[in-house]
Symmetry: C2
């Protein structure tokens, strides 16, 4: 039961949601940061810097910096792993979950408004 969508619809949806994000004055997340955020909130824990770097195909400092920024925004938090103290476990936050939920609603609503074609 695949999701049917035409190229022109896809582009209009993509544009409209990005317009909404910009106009809402939300944090202007890059593609990398968005991918990291959604991976944390959609994939099963635990999440580590190493694992995220591998999934995204980027270096570890990229993840560290993104977590720094999103941490300041309250979207994620970090905690040392007590079983292997070299690891850092990335945790979800209430604010992050809310932001993700709002994004989902935004996409759903804008999709609903997309006429056929």
């Amino acid at each position: 039961m695949p999701l049917e969508i035409k190229p022109s619809q896809a582009l209009r949806l993509w544009r409209q949601v990005h317009l909404d994000l910009v106009r809402d004055g939300q944090a202007d997340l890059s593609a990398r940061q968005t991918a990291i955020l959604l991976t944390i909130y959609l994939e099963l824990p635990p999440h580590t810097v190493r694992g995220l770097a591998a999934q995204l195909g980027v270096t570890k400092p990229v993840i560290t910096r993104a977590l720094d920024t999103m941490g300041k925004l309250g979207l994620v938090s970090r905690k040392r792993d007590d079983f292997d103290r070299r690891n850092v476990v990335i945790q979800r936050t209430v604010a992050g979950a809310l932001a993700v939920e709002r994004l989902a609603d935004l996409v759903v609503e804008r999709a609903r408004e997309m006429g056929g074609g």
Copy 2:
């Protein structure tokens, strides 16, 4: 004939497409840049700095800088308006059109892979 999509589908689609963009090593466009690019390629010309700034709800320097960056990437180009030489007309490019088309195909394909739920 609205486009039906569930919140969980929307999030998975959003994540997967962003993952693809990151992994393809493409230019890591911000939400603002994406909104600008798609507006130029989806809305009817002519496009001006002023008009784009108004549509996005941002200041003019934001548009100027974004056009600088995308110009270097070959995604857009600028030309002075011969009828009113204060204006700058933003033009599409072959590379830009290709990039937009690739994005559309990416979204369509990833949507097709989204199972129900």
